[in-house]
Amino acid sequence: MTRPLLRVDGLDAGYGAIEALREVTFDVEPGALVAVLGPNGAGKTTLLRALMALTPARGAIVFDGQSITAWATERRAAAGIALVPEGRGVLGPLTTAENLALGAYARRGRAKADEVAEDLRWVHELFPILAARRDQRAGSLSGGEQQMLAIARALMSRPRLLLLDEPSLGLAPRIAREIFVILGELNRRGLTILVVEQKAPLALRMARRAHVLRTGRLVATVDPSELRSAADLAALYLGTV
């Protein structure tokens, strides 16, 4: 059995009535695409923010065999964890190119410059629209384009683990499917992905494993290939709401 890339053990987060996590424990194996599903307010965003040290949390987080529980956000980012935040988080006043440059911000030095240029070509191949929108303000892009930019920006850091917070949110179904197809492709190329989603069918089509989060607790873990029907899904997901 391979060592998990990410191990979350007994994670508690949040305070009082605010969306919180209780005793959340799960692993993400290297090369996996893991989905965390749950309704609004289940704690999905809090989970990702806690993994990124953007919200206070108790419990153990181990990344690639190393405890990162005490690490600050920027150190976790430098270690190879990239977050595509809720609402995309692209910087509106900055151009597409500047947003992408920020993705590679932690990679500095002469030797890295060639690598960064190479990665830029690669994300432009992955999302050709971003090359066309290079000098446009990110705020003027469509929702789908902004989501692509947010993912591309995260890729520019050459992450070892990509965290995505509801990438389908606010997107037309066709665009959302397109985004998930690209995530599946990235995963096939070896990128480890942890995605939280409300739209279960979309995530289940790509994920190797899915956890269901409800009111801050992981209540079920499923292998999507074992889910045969929409009824199974409803029982698992909607039925628990």
């Binding site: 430098a78 910087l91 932690a106």
Partner: protein
């Protein structure tokens, strides 16, 4: 393209003023230029990094007093004193920035306000050094070697060349790798952190850089007026600076300069109204802020799209 036209127009106006304006007009414009340099620096910290500093008068005071003390008591050449003052301001910014810049929003505003108040109290209380309310007079004019500036015309040339240098260097900073990080911080500190940006470190750098601009301007003020006192660097300076930024256009390249010219010359333009001057001044400011919330520059840049939308 428009920026080239604006720059060409500015150069033409500058040459015309240099040729035709009298000493009174030139003096007003020199003081506006000195304020413009502080505003350009503050704009890096406030406009592009999104941080509030109500204590920039402290950095101007450091420059002004360093120049005054070092040139009068110690006989240092003005330029050396100016550079020393800037160094001291940068060091102070780094020292004060470390604890202060962990604060956000209102807390940062209050923290920097305290810095401005402390600097005022110190300039009054440290009489042995600053001569308290009496102030320091007899500050020699600015000069390099045998070239000494004695007329408003000379200062007009020097100060406005420095305004151009300040504006140009600020543009370079904002569009550099550092500037990219600063603009990311303005977009959101959490998001910047998640991108691997050391937010506190860059905020300190931004404050230190903007402190250098303020300090240089404070030195220029001392040399030009040849006298400084605590009042010159009081909190009113902060009020003026923010009015300049908002009137000119915060977070734009030329906004601080435009704002400094408008706010610096408006009281003089209105001097014919005598008793009603302050009233009209306030009314003009309110009108500008109501109808040009993005500043005078924003008004020009946005005119057509705004009409199309309406």
């Amino acid at each position: 393209m428009t920026s080239r036209i604006v720059m060409a127009a500015a150069v033409v106006a500058w040459l015309a003023l240099l040729r035709f304006a009298n000493d009174y007009v030139l003096t007003v414009l020199v003081l506006s230029g000195i304020y413009a340099i502080i505003a350009v620096g503050l704009n890096i910290f406030t406009g592009y990094t999104g941080q509030i500093s109500f204590g920039h008068n402290a950095f101007a005071a450091i420059g002004g007093y360093a120049s005054a003390i070092l040139t009068t008591d110690r006989g240092w050449p003005p330029l050396v004193a100016l550079v020393a003052g800037a160094g001291l301001a940068v060091a102070t910014a780094a020292l004060v920035g470390y604890p202060t810049l962990r604060l956000r929003g209102h807390y940062l505003a209050m923290g920097t306000l305290a810095l401005g108040l402390i600097s005022y109290v110190l300039s009054v209380q440290l009489e042995g050094l600053t001569r308290g309310f009496t102030g320091i007079s007899g500050i020699p004019p600015l000069g390099v070697g045998s070239l000494v500036m004695t007329t408003p015309r000379g200062y007009f040339v020097a100060v406005w060349l420095l305004v151009a240098v300040a504006t140009g260097s600020a543009w370079l900073i904002v569009h550099s790798r550092l500037g990219l990080a600063l603009r990311a911080i303005r977009g959101g500190e959490d998001a910047a952190r998640a991108l691997g940006i050391d937010v506190t470190r860059y905020k300190i750098q931004a404050l230190a850089i903007s402190a250098a601009y303020a300090s240089v301007a404070g030195s220029l003020f001392g040399h030009f007026v040849s006298y400084i006192s605590p009042e010159a660097f009081g909190l009113y300076m902060v009020v003026l600076l923010f009015t300049m930024l908002f009137v000119g256009g915060i977070g734009t390249t030329a906004g601080p300069v435009v704002g400094a010219i408008v706010i610096g010359s408006l009281p003089e333009v209105l001097s014919g109204f005598k008793d009603y001057r302050e009233l009209i001044y306030a009314a003009v400011l309110i009108v500008i802020l109501l109808f040009a919330p993005r500043g005078v520059l924003g008004l020009f840049a946005r005119r057509r799209p705004a009409r199309a939308a309406a």
